[in-house]
């Protein structure tokens, strides 16, 4: 069976990223599989995994501090850079998942949330357009794509298609000797 990542799984990976919260409760250190967090003291900021932050947020036990790149000015600069440069601009690998989760669950902690949501959508649209251009320039001779700084979800949209395409190209391209070799290996294996 082929192992395929789904979007939900990609988001699951994003949830283990650390994010700063300001708790409003008192609690000793807690031990999780991914590490030790705490002690929690009211209005003393600390870093916890994103899933824990959202879990606490849902119970109104903390305030989430959005990551530095989710600032209005930083983001609008990013969009400018993205528009000007040819490759992908450098951004958090899980920017789509993080922003999507924060904009749904921690709306009151994000200043200018509608503008930020729109900027992230702009950024995403610009980057998808670039991905489309890259696909257009795909050639059978060079099975290489320059995807520096691509984000998790964007990679996810490409993964199944490109793996399939490149596998097919290599199958068409392979030489007869390789076929013979493989056959010999297959015969040798059961013994």
């Amino acid at each position: 069976m082929e192992i395929e990542l789904s979007m939900a799984e990609t988001e699951f990976f994003a949830e283990s990223q650390l994010i700063t919260i300001v708790p409003n409760f008192r609690e000793d250190q807690i031990i999780l599989l991914c590490g030790q967090f705490g002690p929690f003291r009211p209005s003393i900021p600390l870093d916890v995994p994103l899933w824990l932050a959202i879990f606490l947020k849902k119970q109104h036990k903390c305030q989430i501090v959005p990551p530095s790149w989710m600032d209005l000015e930083v983001l609008s600069n990013k969009v400018e850079v993205e528009r000007k440069t040819e490759g992908f601009a450098e951004i958090d690998f899980h920017y789509l998942e993080t922003s999507s989760m924060l904009l749904t669950h921690a709306q009151e902690d994000i200043k200018h949330k509608s503008v930020i949501g729109r900027l992230i959508q702009d950024l995403y649209d610009l980057r998808t357009a670039k991905i489309r251009d890259i696909i257009k320039e795909l050639k059978p001779e060079n099975s290489k794509l320059k995807l520096t700084n691509i984000a998790a979800i964007e990679l996810q949209t490409l993964r199944r298609l490109l793996v399939c395409t490149f596998d097919t190209i290599s199958q068409i391209n392979r030489k007869e000797e390789q076929v013979e070799d493989e056959k010999n290996n297959e015969n040798a294996a059961p013994q």
Binding site: A8, T104, I135, P140, T157, T165, Q171
Partner: protein
């Protein structure tokens, strides 16, 4: 994708595709291969169609493989003009698989280049189709390989849309439960 493994069902079916062959010598006792042929022996210069797996074996004796219609020069011209609108399914459901096998058997490098060119153009065309709201009519023109690529792409697009609407967060009723109970009861 072309797997080319022993157990791959598409690989097995691709080997059933008829390939025209032509004998150069008389073949003793093989008259049954050509349906139009009455005598026991297969005379020289006889032309008939054999499945790809048989053609590959016959080629080791005194038989020439002739390329199927869709790989011949006349059709190549229309393929090279614009591969994306041609209905390859009408030619062969396993166009690329058969082509790959033929390049291996006949050592035809031009054919390989043609296959790669056609594949790239058609995949690029397909990716454009997958991203926009798709028209299911296009499936009628695709070979098995392309259909599998198309389905992979659609699956990703649907998943992406579900994710963007955050549908994964909602707890849904299990499919097993919503299915009519009548069907689940054992007889």
């Amino acid at each position: 994708m072309i797997k080319g493994s022993y157990w791959d069902i598409d690989d097995i079916l691709a080997e059933e595709e008829p390939i025209p062959v032509k004998t150069t010598k008389e073949l003793k006792g093989l008259g049954f291969l050509d349906i139009t042929n009455k005598p026991l022996d297969l005379p020289a210069e006889s032309r008939f169609q054999a499945p790809l797996w048989l053609a590959a074996i016959l080629q080791r004796t005194e038989t020439d493989i002739e390329l199927p219609k869709y790989f011949r020069t006349s059709y190549r011209a229309s393929l090279e003009a614009d591969p994306s609108i041609v209905s390859l399914k009408a030619q062969s459901q396993y166009f690329f698989e058969v082509g790959t096998k033929l390049t291996e058997i006949a050592e035809d490098d031009d054919l390989k280049q043609l296959l790669l060119k056609v594949l790239m153009k058609r995949i690029k065309f397909l990716i454009g189709y997958i991203e926009n709201k798709s028209n299911p009519n296009i499936l009628k023109r695709l070979t098995e390989l392309e259909i599998s690529i198309y389905e992979k792409g659609r699956k990703t697009m649907i998943e992406l849309e579900d994710w963007r609407e955050r549908k994964y967060e909602k707890i849904r009723t299990s499919y097993l439960y919503t299915r009519p109970m009548r069907k689940m009861r054992l007889k």
